[in-house]
């Protein structure tokens, strides 16, 4: 670990000032990701700004939906009665992530901003474009079982690891961000980025911005939603593939479906082709299968992750079935 200075902010304005004053500073949420990265010499901030004292913990209903404070813990969010009864898919997705101990520390903001778990990214003796732009991507021809099947480029084939974000993507969330006195709202689909030519950039935040809340519009998915995660062990493992699905039904006819996948791309992957296929169709296994197939057409496997295409298809169908069952 590189030595760093530790400072605490008392309010959002101060936190943002502190960050904008130092290009090498970083916020500390729960610390479950940034500290690991510092210990591995991957993140090298010279100043850590503790934002734990900011009053951004509230989880509440708003006129248009729900608001999750950026500093509310993952555990509190998942177990909050508002979330459990109105957004069960989100609750399940959070609880499918990490371990109880990590979720107790992890904040909603930090969760969104956690970095990839690509093992070459973590190993500083290996080339990695995300860690060191221009050095090459070790995973492209290396061990890439955990890596992407959608939207990757030769510059980076990593996947984004958050489970919570997969549900947020399906729920059309918005990320509320504050910078020097201005506020902006970033739609979820624009928040995380595909690697393109700049895998070093995970998302569209700029350095001096603070995530203050995550807003979720009202929806009718509570009765018909699911989060299915396939992983190498039952807890404390990142998704091989995961699917968040919500169905808006009228009788047996799907008015619209919102579907997002995890473990398959550099960002939560909205299954737009599947959604499009299902719109206005009866909710049947046959249609679920066709929707899944439509989605997986664009998948492109790497040397070790061909299984993700079949697993993605099956998991998509399974999530839709479970959503239908309610």
């Amino acid at each position: 670990m590189k030595p760093f200075k530790f400072i605490s902010a008392t309010n959002p304005g101060e936190a943002i000032d502190m960050l904008s004053n130092n290009a090498e500073a970083a916020f500390l949420g729960g610390g479950t990701n940034i500290l690991d990265l510092m210990k591995e010499h991957v993140a090298l901030p010279n100043e850590i700004i503790d934002i734990g004292n900011l009053k951004l913990q509230e989880i509440k209903a708003t006129a248009t939906g729900f608001s999750l404070g950026a500093l509310a813990k993952n555990t509190e969010t998942a177990n909050h009665s508002l979330i459990r009864s109105n957004l069960p898919m989100l609750s399940k997705a959070i609880l499918a992530g990490a371990s109880a101990q990590i979720r107790n520390m992890a904040t909603n903001g930090g969760n969104l901003l956690q970095r990839t778990r690509c093992s070459y990214f973590y190993d500083i003796s290996m080339p990695c474009n995300k860690r060191m732009p221009g050095s090459g991507c070790s995973a492209l021809e290396g061990f890439n079982r955990m890596h992407a099947i959608f939207g990757w480029t030769e510059n980076c084939v990593a996947v984004y690891p958050s489970d919570m974000a997969v549900a947020l993507s399906a729920l059309n969330a918005t990320v509320k961000v504050q910078n020097n006195n201005a506020e902006r709202y970033i739609p979820f689909k624009d928040f995380h980025l595909l690697p393109g030519n700049h895998p070093e950039k995970d998302n569209s935040l700029t350095h001096s911005e603070l995530v203050t809340a995550i807003e979720i519009p009202k929806n009718n998915f509570a009765a018909n939603s699911a989060y299915v995660k396939v992983r190498d062990r039952s807890s404390y493992a990142f998704a091989l593939v995961s699917v968040a699905a919500g169905l808006n039904l009228k009788g047996n006819v799907i008015q619209f479906a919102n579907i997002a996948m995890g473990g398959v791309a550099h960002k939560p992957w909205r299954a737009l082709k599947a959604e499009q296929f299902l719109k206005g169709k009866p909710a049947t296994t046959a249609n679920f299968l066709k929707a899944a197939e439509a989605e997986m057409v664009a998948a492109k496997a790497l040397s070790h992750n061909k299984f993700k295409i079949e697993m993605g298809r099956k998991t998509l169908v399974n999530a839709l079935e479970l959503a239908l069952k309610g």
Partner: protein, 708 residues
């Protein structure tokens, strides 16, 4: 003594349990020392070649840095002193990725770590040998004599005459030990004497290896290791970090602590090697085995050989007139593999017991029946009689307790909702041996109470050695356990075997028991009296008003033991539940039935067995260390990537012991349970997966993608 008063055989809590849960147990780096300095290792980032240059100018200027040690300034060490894995900073040669190439010593751990990143190293790289799959096409004969081809009868040729055959390749990946306590050492020099605080499974082995490597006499080196946070073989033979800590302490003239990071554990202290095992079984239509061949290809370091004996179980498990056990090896640019829980037996039994299951399926026979049908009456490998053999009992009693009759013999037919349920069985074995060990018992009489101190250079890996020795002494001396003080983990104590190869309990407990008998005899003689009922040592101390008395016993295995084949045996039963859509597996129930002679403490014994079962389940389902063949590094280098099973992966674990009295291997009838607990486990799980799904996975671990 009446049985009800006996301590042995009771499930007594660990006597050091409170110390451990309150943090008072002192592990290697928990000892205080004045003026401590901290060492951090830095490692090569190539797998083969030479160091061309090391530039540490910037690092040397870093605050708090005391010394940077590389091959350029390290003292000359004896590389044949008995440490494993090389990496002693004796030259510029690099033979594996992650080889230690230097040490930074600083006032704080943080300073040493930060400065290590400032060191610039240039290499002359050579082409490395790491691609196992490619190299395994052209393996060579191993050097070890015990690994020469072992042919019985017509060997593999007899396969041709078999009516029913199984010939398959089984693969097991590299695994790592990862004890909870990473390898850590504190070195303190007192003049020309050296104290090394270091988790060591073999106290005297660590002492002699450290002394020889440092060109010192064994009596100049003291190993202190009363508590160990697990080892599983990785703290049996010692590695470079032990002696490099001493080198650093000498060079800075201060006590030094060196603890490996979890990431460094992947390439510093050995591993279980990857094995390709070809298993061939030929049988009659009735299920009598005719031929059995077990051919293993594995890898070793380029400059040293360790091969786990995968064919060991196969040698003795079944009655078969024709057999072949063979080993081939490929030297690779990787750290030397080493003993890993149930070495050879855990991996070998995966191949053998999977193949037996495949044969049973082909024969349309119950796999338990097939095994019983081929039960050998004596050790097929050497013709010696068994001291005792409990395989059949383990199978029968286990089947009853587990509800084996509920198993559906047709795979894929037991469905609950989306889940498939399957049952599997597999057997295992491990040798029972007693090794030379000495113990001193010191008795004292204070305020009418007798106290005993037991001294032995044994080690307690966290398994409960302390406790079983206190129990043994309590019964042997006629004292309550609270009046016994056990001192172990110190090379100044009487020499003992190691906590390795399941010899610990039998060797240590027999040494202590012998010392108890001897001290009682000596006290009797001293009293000059005759007794109708033999009094205990404690009674004699009181009746004769002796305030202090001690004796030492040097124990060996009984001479008779050699004439027999003595082993622990087990049968493992697994129930798995598999989501038929996602392929995710849960081991809902696991039962291990073990015949291991006298069980000294059923509570610590159960912990040992279920601990072995959990690792075996990890071996079956989750654990795998993956090498990137382009670089020779491990691509899985943290617990986020190297998956050990979690609570959610495992349901109910049960351990049953067969009540057996076998005094042939040693006087106390203790056979050992540490290793056997993992043997046969992976096969039981894999066989259950087959029974559930109809898919035979022959390459571990069985991850969800393999069941799609």
């Amino acid at each position: 003594m009446e049985d009800s008063k006996k301590s042995i055989g009771k499930g007594i809590d660990r006597i050091d349990g409170i110390l451990k849960i309150t943090g008072k147990a002192t592990y290697a780096t928990d000892y205080p020392a004045k003026n401590m300095a901290y060492a951090v290792l830095f490692k090569s980032t190539i797998a083969a070649g030479q160091i061309k240059s090391i530039n540490s100018t910037e690092a040397e200027r870093y605050p708090g840095i005391l010394k940077i040690i590389t091959h350029e300034n390290a003292p000359k060490l004896n590389t044949k002193g008995g440490l494993r894995g090389g990496a002693l900073l004796q030259g510029p040669e690099i033979t594996f990725h992650g080889q230690h190439i230097g040490i930074v010593v600083a006032e704080t751990f943080e300073q040493a770590t930060a400065a290590a990143h400032l060191i610039k190293i240039e290499y002359n790289q050579k082409e490395e040998k790491i691609d196992f799959e490619k190299l395994a096409q052209t393996p060579i004969m191993p050097k070890g004599k015990e690994l020469a081809d072992l042919v019985r009868g017509a060997g593999k040729l007899a396969m041709e005459t078999a009516e029913v055959k199984v010939e398959e390749l089984y693969e097991t990946p590299i695994e790592h030990h990862h004890p909870m306590e990473p390898h850590s050492t504190m070195a303190v020099w007192e003049g020309d004497k050296l104290i090394l605080y270091n988790g060591s499974q073999i106290i005297n082995g660590a002492q002699t290896a450290a002394a020889a490597t440092l060109n010192m006499k064994p009596e100049q080196v003291r190993i202190i290791s009363p508590f160990i946070g697990g080892g599983f073989g990785s703290k049996g033979g010692q590695w470079a970090n032990l002696v490099l800590t001493a080198v650093a302490a000498k060079m800075v003239g201060r006590p030094v602590k060196l603890a490996l990071t979890r990431q460094q554990m992947f390439n510093s202290v050995g591993m279980r090697q990857r094995n390709m095992q070809k298993l061939s079984i030929g049988a009659t239509k009735e299920g009598k085995l005719i031929a059995l061949a077990h051919e293993t290809i594995s890898h070793t370091a380029v400059d040293d050989e360790y091969i786990e004996p995968c064919g060991d179980c196969t040698k003795i498990m079944y009655e078969v007139p024709n057999s072949l056990i063979s080993y081939r090896v490929v030297p690779m640019n990787l750290i030397l593999p080493t003993y890993t829980r149930g070495p050879g037996k855990s991996t070998g039994s995966f191949a053998l017991e999977s193949a037996m299951d495949e044969l049973a399926y082909k024969l349309n026979m119950d796999p338990i029946e097939l095994r019983i049908k081929n039960e050998p009456s004596k050790d097929p490998s050497n013709g010696k009689p068994w001291s005792s053999r409990t395989t059949v009992k383990c199978l029968k009693e286990g089947a009853k307790a587990f509800g084996w009759e509920k198993r559906k013999s047709k795979p894929g037919t037991n469905k609950i909702g989306d889940d498939l349920v399957g049952y599997g069985v597999a057997c295992g074995t491990y040798p029972a041996r007693q090794r030379d060990s000495s113990a001193i018992i010191k008795l004292s009489l204070r305020n009418k109470l007798v106290y005993a101190t037991v001294e032995i250079a044994a080690s307690d890996l966290g398994t409960g050695t302390n406790t079983i020795l206190a129990q043994t002494a309590a019964d042997g001396l006629g004292l309550p356990i609270a009046q016994i003080n056990v001192k172990l983990g110190d090379s100044e104590l009487p020499p003992a075997a190691g906590s390795v190869g399941s010899v610990g309990a039998s060797s240590f407990a027999n040494a202590v028991n012998d010392a108890c008998i001897k001290i009682t005899d000596e006290l009797l003689a001293k009293s000059g009296k005759q007794f109708f009922v033999r009094p205990t040592a404690a009674q004699l101390m009181v009746s004769e008003s002796i305030t202090d008395f001690q004796t030492r016993s040097d124990s060996k295995a009984p001479a008779e033991a050699e004439k027999y084949s003595a082993h622990s045996f087990n049968a493992n039963f697994a129930e798995v539940r598999i989501n038929s859509i996602t392929g995710m597996i849960k081991v809902t129930r696991f039962l291990a039935v073990t015949g291991a002679g006298k069980i000294l403490n059923p509570k610590t014994a159960r912990s040992q067995i279920i601990g072995g079962n959990v690792w075996g389940i990890g071996m079956a389902l989750t654990e795998e260390s993956i090498i990137d063949p382009r670089y020779g590094n491990f691509a899985t280098r943290s617990f986020a990537d190297y998956h050990v099973p979690t609570n959610l992966d495992i349901g109910r674990l049960d351990a049953m012991f067969i009540n057996e009295k076998d005094l042939i291997p040693n006087k106390m009838g203790v056979k050992g349970i540490g290793e056997v607990g993992i043997v046969g486990v992976a096969a039981a799980v894999a066989n259950a997966v087959f029974n559930a799904t109809g898919k035979r996975v022959r390459s571990l671990p069985i991850t969800p993608d393999k069941l799609l």
